[in-house]
Amino acid sequence: MTYIPQEKGMRVEEKFYQNRYLVDAGRPHIKVLPHETPSKALLSMTHLCPAGCYELNERGQAEITAEGCMECGTCRIATAKTGDIEWNYQRGGFGVLYKFC
């Protein structure tokens, strides 16, 4: 379809800045396992993650900053076959706290 330019490439941070999170500082519930080059599945997370948590670093490896994570589990399922990440539930009480959804 024809994308209207100003809607594309928006910063996802603008979307979830109003969400409430209790961040489990220093204990991320998702870890990307060490790798040289990301698998196709892991690479897809850079556009697939609805919170934009996955980015490539300057060496082309995928990194995660999970603060905005909404715990949907998309990355867990997308990378299940390639085993690129370690995904756990948040510790009790931590993570996203929806008020209106």
Binding site: M1, T2, Y3, I4, E7, K8, G9, M10, V12, K15, F16, Q18, N19, L22, A41, S44, H47, L48, P50, A51, G52, M70, E71, C72, G73, T74, R76, I77, A78, A80, W87, N88, Y89, Q90, R91, G92, G93, G95, V96, L97, Y98, K99, F100, C101
Partner: protein, 434 residues
């Protein structure tokens, strides 16, 4: 908490977990419910439409105090082109009945209410408690769970896994396979706030009446999926979801897709001037009947989204979740009263009861639909544009004679999808639907 024993432990306080816990506690069982969120609903996301019937069977008078948004009097089904939509609207004053059939709800509020009801009938709820694993005896029978609360163990005759689409506890104990990426949709949604009188004026509503829009078409950029817009009292839920494997193959981000949907000329005026207060994402199990895992075993049952009990054709999920929870609860109560062991053989009663009602029947009826939609992506791309072009040719008065207009419409269908293709699509859909 150590070494306390319960009749049943329910893992999760979403709709299915609450339905199971309520059913069992109301019949006098000693129930412990564990929820990882700060409060029930804090991590639960849905469109959200509540189908009254499934809740009535659990709490008949729920309308007296449940936080309901609007009862649905109008359903709009849209096929969307890039700048248009072809719609089928059904609105009836019959839906303004004493006990309305469908409501929009806000899960964070609704789940808090449901959970209060669960506790009122005597279940014990522990929030901020994540279940980390199932505890089994030497024979492999599930006898309890371990939680992250001081690594505490709790024991019960039976564990009801209401852990949602990311059913990690069950998967790690090999009770079921990992969900495939083509069996699950990723949905993103925003909550847009507007004064209620603005919503009522925009959608031609009065009082608690509500409208829901379900949309498909070029809005999903060639992927299998749908968009939606639901009216609440003072907010509008707007979202879009597509199959995860389709998303992975595309280069679209879910939030760009939602932005484009929100800016579609048919949607934009409906949410104009609103304030977005929340953005959420969630997975929806859409694998249907063929994706249903093992439902029970020695000392355990699984309910809700972890069962893949979603009828994606009819957008039914929450009612299915509540029904699996209720039926699981009833089966357990029945066994408990008979003093039967919670063995795999006895818990087969749960599946048997699901087979007897609409739940398994509906899932079975549509078992071929997920496959049909997956392998026929032109349903989401080609047809919406064809419908739109046809409608435009039909309605636009530009001096073309009517016979030529008809010819042009038929011709555009034939040209883009050949007669065989059209007949084939209709035939395949009919076969999947049957």
């Amino acid at each position: 908490m150590n070494n306390v024993r319960f009749d049943a432990i329910v893992v999760g306080a979403g709709l299915s977990g609450n339905a199971a816990a309520y059913t069992m506690a109301k019949q006098g069982l000693n129930v412990l419910q564990l929820e990882c969120g700060e409060y029930p609903g804090s991590k639960n996301v849905q469109g959200a439409i509540l189908y009254a019937k499934s809740l009535e069977e659990i709490i008949p008078d729920f309308r007296e105090n449940a936080p309901l948004e609007r009862h649905v009097i109008e359903q709009r089904m849209w096929t969307m082109g890039d700048s248009s939509h072809v719609g089928m609207h059904y609105r009836s004053d019959d839906f303004n009945e004493e006990k309305p059939n469908r409501y929009t709800i806000i899960r964070a509020q609704f789940d808090k209410w449901f959970s209060r009801e669960v506790r009122e009938v005597g279940a014990t709820l522990l929030c901020e408690t994540t279940v980390t694993e199932l505890l089994c005896d030497a024979s492999g029978r599930v006898i309890g769970v371990r939680t992250d609360r001081n690594a505490g163990k709790v024991f019960a005759d039976v564990v009801v896994l209401a852990e949602g689409v990311n059913g990690l506890v069950g998967q790690r104990s090999d009770l079921r396979e990992e969900v495939e990426s083509d069996q699950v949709a990723l949905a993103v949604k925003e909550m847009h706030f507007l004064p209620h009188e603005v919503i009522e004026a925009r959608f031609n509503l009065k009082g608690d009446e509500g409208v829901v829009i379900e949309a498909m078409g070029t809005i999903t950029d060639g992927m299998t999926g749908t968009g939606f817009l639901y009216t609440n009292q003072k907010s509008i839920s707007v979202g879009i979801g597509c199959i995860v494997s389709d998303f992975a193959e595309s280069e679209t981000t879910p939030y760009d897709l939602l932005e484009v949907f929100k800016n579609h000329p048919s949607i934009k005026p409906l949410i104009e001037g609103s304030e977005c207060k929340e953005y959420a994402s969630h997975l929806i199990p859409e694998g249907g009947y063929n994706a249903i895992p093992e439902l029970y075993g020695d000392g355990w049952l699984v309910v809700g989204d972890a069962v893949q009990s979603v009828n994606s054709v009819h957008r039914e999920g929450s009612n299915m979740a509540m029904t699996t929870g209720r039926i699981a609860g009833e089966a357990i109560v029945w066994l408990h009263r008979r003093r039967d062991e919670m063995t795999k053989a006895n818990l087969a009663e749960y599946r048997k009861r699901l087979e007897d009602i609409f739940l398994m029947k509906d899932l079975k009826k549509y078992r071929k639909i997920p496959g049909f939609l997956e392998s026929n992506n032109h349903v989401f791309t080609l047809y919406p544009e064809l419908f739109s072009d046809a409608a435009q040719a039909w309605f636009r008065v530009d001096g073309t004679d009517k016979r030529s207009e008809e010819k042009q419409i038929v011709g555009s269908f034939r040209k883009s999808r050949s007669v065989l293709g059209l007949v084939g699509d209709a035939f395949k859909l009919a076969r999947a639907w049957r």
